[in-house]
């Protein structure tokens, strides 16, 4: 058996990424259809949730699920008993199972595309901006799937898949770079560690940011009165969304901390100083400080919720700016990878 050539692998990687975009787009449509369903049907989400879990092969852990799902269910029940039919329940079940299955399929194609790219280039597949963006989208999709198993995040699906499709679309059109070797300064195992950590944290921060945005939307509707209509009315309770966001950001924060520390160690080994206020370093610092502020605000009476959410959103904005903006608009020591 002969090994496929580098060109074949690179071509395969591109095709897999294109297929992943198509499948994610279908998943997005399924999630959009789910979000657009009338509240009567939507109210059955607790009953539908196990079906989703079964589809994606989650390990059953009813104990923890019950406790984490509780606030949302209570809030939804509080809106009054809902008349429903078995047919509508089944339809929601089916649709959410389809959406989850499509997301998983898209993820697998996407993952294969990244792996093929890694083999084609003969290195970790995150050495230029195209690859960063593709892997970052993969991290966001992975984080969503992990959260889908254990948290009530189905309502986030349409936004997460939209972000993934958008990022991949930009990657293959604007950012695309053919597979190739690395510039010398990136040729270090710290690239694997530092960038992988940053990208993983970014994926989980994305879940947090989407949850926060939906939380603010839902909170506004809840404050207006108990009769929730429209899109906000179909979202999980604000308290549930805020808890999901908090969990995601809480989980991502140490990973981001690690990414920054690993970057500092690499910088020391590469430039002779572990911290030099290069624009990339500065924005990593700003991101870290803003998320630290968010976590402190969430533990402070009077700041929890709305006020704290500003810090998380600003932190995410700083992260995204660091990821894309700093590379494109500010020159510094990190401006070697090309766009």
């Amino acid at each position: 058996m002969t090994l496929p050539s580098m060109e074949t692998l690179a071509q395969l990687s591109d095709n897999l990424v294109y297929s992943a975009i198509a499948v994610y787009a279908l998943a997005m449509l399924a999630y959009a259809a789910l979000s657009a369903r009338r509240p009567e049907a939507h109210r059955q989400q607790p009953a539908a949730a196990p079906a989703v879990e079964a589809t994606i092969g989650a390990r059953a852990d009813p104990g923890s699920r019950r406790s984490v799902g509780a606030p949302g269910e209570e809030a939804r029940d509080a809106t009054g008993p809902a008349p429903h039919t078995d047919a509508s329940v089944n339809a929601v079940d089916r649709l959410s199972a389809i959406a989850a299955a499509l997301t998983i399929l898209g993820f697998l194609l996407h993952l294969s595309g990244v792996v093929a790219r890694g083999f084609a280039a003969g290195r970790a597949p995150w050495g230029n901006m195209y690859e960063f963006a593709v892997v970052a989208a993969l991290a966001a999709a992975a984080a969503f799937l992990v959260f889908l198993r254990r948290e009530p995040v189905r309502a986030l699906g349409v936004w997460i898949t939209a972000i993934v499709v958008l990022t991949l679309g930009l990657s293959v059109t604007v950012l695309y770079t053919p597979a190739g070797a690395l510039v010398p300064v990136l040729n270090s195992y710290w690239l694997v560690i530092h960038v992988a950590a940053a990208i993983t944290a970014g994926g989980v921060f994305t879940i947090g940011a989407v949850a926060i945005l939906l939380y603010r939307l839902r909170l506004r509707a809840e404050r207006r009165g108990p009769a929730h209509t429209g899109y906000a009315g179909r979202l999980p309770a604000a308290s549930t969304l805020n808890r999901v966001a908090h969990t995601a950001n809480l989980f991502a924060f140490p990973i981001w901390t690690f990414a920054v520390i690993a970057g500092a160690i690499w910088a020391e080994n590469s430039w002779g100083r572990y911290w030099g206020w290069d624009p990339k370093e500065t924005w990593a610092f700003i991101t870290w400080v803003l998320y630290a502020a968010y976590l402190h605000a969430e533990a402070t009476a009077g700041w929890r919720g709305t006020k704290a959410s500003w810090f998380a959103l600003l932190g995410y904005a700083a992260f995204v700016f660091n990821f894309f903006g700093v590379n494109m608009w500010i020159s510094g020591l990190h401006s070697y990878a090309g766009i």
Partner: protein, 504 residues
């Protein structure tokens, strides 16, 4: 906490301008501030007065993080004391009623009350709880490590500050550019640029020396990404000070030479055209490589050649070097970073270079105050030279021969005695933040409700002390230690209990 949130927000805000405005002492471009000042002559002095070209060394930036650290210390020390007392004290007694606890359960045990409680206490202990059994009640608490991690995280920031301060007080940073064949000794006078800190022992730098024997660079030749760098390698002959024999070492990006914590990094490279200058008398007044500073990724480079010993007039040359010269619509340019078709484009000056008197001048520019540009046919005299070519000045004032091409390498030499401290601080910080965010602190109480000949009725409750509770399984697990379960009772409706884990 509110102070912390506000100060953190301010710190983030204060860090922004430094990434948008050019900064002094930020490595990427030492001339950025100068350039910005020239481009914005009215705005720049005001920005400078506000410290906006040195944001991270400015008093107002320092004020924010010092306030933050002071407020943090003021918060953390009482918390340390509280944790210390909590660890030494028993877990607090159970609330009089379990009704308000988020998790509670009743269970029937076959044992007598004391045995049942003993079994539960042993079980809780085995799972890391601190346990106290007093009259008909088991009190347990675990997750102190959360607070410990939290405090560790905050205190590690002080250690980090100490590490940074050590480097800022005793370290140094310096740069030197060496042409192939040139040597360097680690003393201040040999540096092109040397930035000592307040307390750096400038007389006592780590003694060593080395010679740059060879510099190799390779670039991508395939069409896509053509010209992208692929490998840089500086081959040094390194001589330690102890008199032992010299040895060959290679320095590459990410692979510095480390001499007792003083590290030599390869940070850049460029070309040094080798030229010979003869004066009007025909004497050789300069010969050797001259460093030209690269302008862009294709290594089009600018530089000057000075011959102060030339007679009857001193000679200066100014121009640019193209490693792979090509001619396009807008004149000559470099088509590839490697030296495939090296050409030197020069104009000449005569007069006084100003090197014998006047302030010290840069080796990369001519001071043209007392120089006249050589002209021919009414235009500045300029020549494009390939290797081996000679340009002769029209009035017989001298000539310059392009003998060949050498490379030079930029080395950054750095010493930071605080970096180990900072690394330890970073490790503690990471450990602290992970522990404090992932470990959950919770209390569990179990007490006897009733007892009879057929066993004991126990009531158990749990209280999460952190927002992410997730303690449902905990209480079920506690009770399996004694439960003789067939008739488990609960405050929950049967249907919901059926969904719970039935571990027996």
């Amino acid at each position: 906490m509110r102070t912390a949130v506000i100060l953190l927000g301010l710190l983030a805000l204060a860090a922004v301008p430094g990434s948008l405005l050019p900064q002094r002492n930020v490595a990427s471009d030492p001339n950025a501030v100068l350039q910005f000042t020239q481009d914005n002559p009215t705005l720049a002095p005001w920005l400078d007065r506000l410290g906006l070209f040195e944001v991270y060394a400015s008093p107002w930036f320092a004020a924010i993080y010092i306030l933050l650290l002071v407020s943090m210390t003021g918060c953390v020390i009482p918390r340390c004391l509280r944790l210390w007392r909590a660890v030494r004290a028993d877990p607090p007694p159970a609330p009089s009623s379990f009704v308000r606890l988020s998790e509670r359960r009743e269970v029937h045990a076959a044992q007598c009350p004391s045995e049942a409680l003993r079994a539960i206490a042993a079980d809780l202990k085995s799972r890391g709880f601190r346990v106290r059994t007093t009259g008909g009640e088991v009190r347990a608490e675990r997750g102190y490590a959360r607070e410990l991690g939290n405090l560790l995280f905050h205190l590690s920031l002080l250690v980090l500050l100490a590490g940074i301060a050590l480097g800022r007080l005793f370290g140094f940073e310096g740069r030197v550019a060496l042409v192939e064949g040139a040597g360097f000794s680690n003393v201040v006078s040999q540096y092109d640029e040397f930035s000592p800190r307040a307390l750096t022992d400038v007389e006592g730098l780590e003694p060593f020396s080395f010679t740059l024997n060879d510099f190799e660079a390779s670039f991508e030749t395939a069409d896509e990404k053509r010209g992208e760098p692929r490998q840089f390698r500086a081959e040094l002959e390194y001589r330690p000070d102890d008199g032992s024999t010299s040895k060959a070492v290679e320095v590459e990006p990410n692979h510095p030479l480390d001499v007792n914590e003083t590290k030599v990094f390869l940070t850049g490279h460029g070309y040094a055209p080798k030229v010979t200058v003869r004066d009007g008398r025909g004497d050789v007044v300069f010969t050797g490589p001259v460093i030209f500073l690269p302008n862009d990724a294709s290594y089009a480079s600018d530089g000057v050649v000075k011959a102060p010993d030339a007679r009857p007039t001193e000679l200066g040359f100014e121009g640019f070097f193209l490693p792979t010269a090509a001619v396009g619509d807008r004149g000559p340019y470099s088509a590839f970073p490697d030296a495939l078709n090296p050409q030197l484009f020069l104009t000449a000056f005569t007069g006084d270079l100003g090197m014998s008197d006047g302030p010290p001048q840069s080796v990369y520019t001519l001071v043209k105050d007392d120089l006249q540009q050589v002209r021919a046919d009414g235009r500045p005299f300029a020549k494009a030279l390939s290797v081996g070519d000679t340009m002769r000045l029209p009035n017989g004032e001298g000539s310059l021969t392009f003998d060949g091409v050498a490379r030079f390498a930029n080395f950054q030499i750095a010493y930071d005695p605080g970096k180990e401290v900072s690394l330890v601080a970073a490790a503690l910080l990471l450990l602290g933040v992970t522990t404090s965010l992932l470990i959950r602190r919770r209390r569990v109480w179990v007490r006897v409700v009733a007892s009879g000949p057929d066993g004991t009725r126990l009531e158990a409750g749990a209280l999460p002390l952190t927002r992410r509770g997730g303690i449902t399984g905990e209480i079920d697990a506690v009770l399996t230690a004694v439960s003789d379960e067939r008739e488990k009772s609960s405050d929950r409706p049967d249907t919901e209990r059926a969904a719970g884990p039935e571990k027996e």
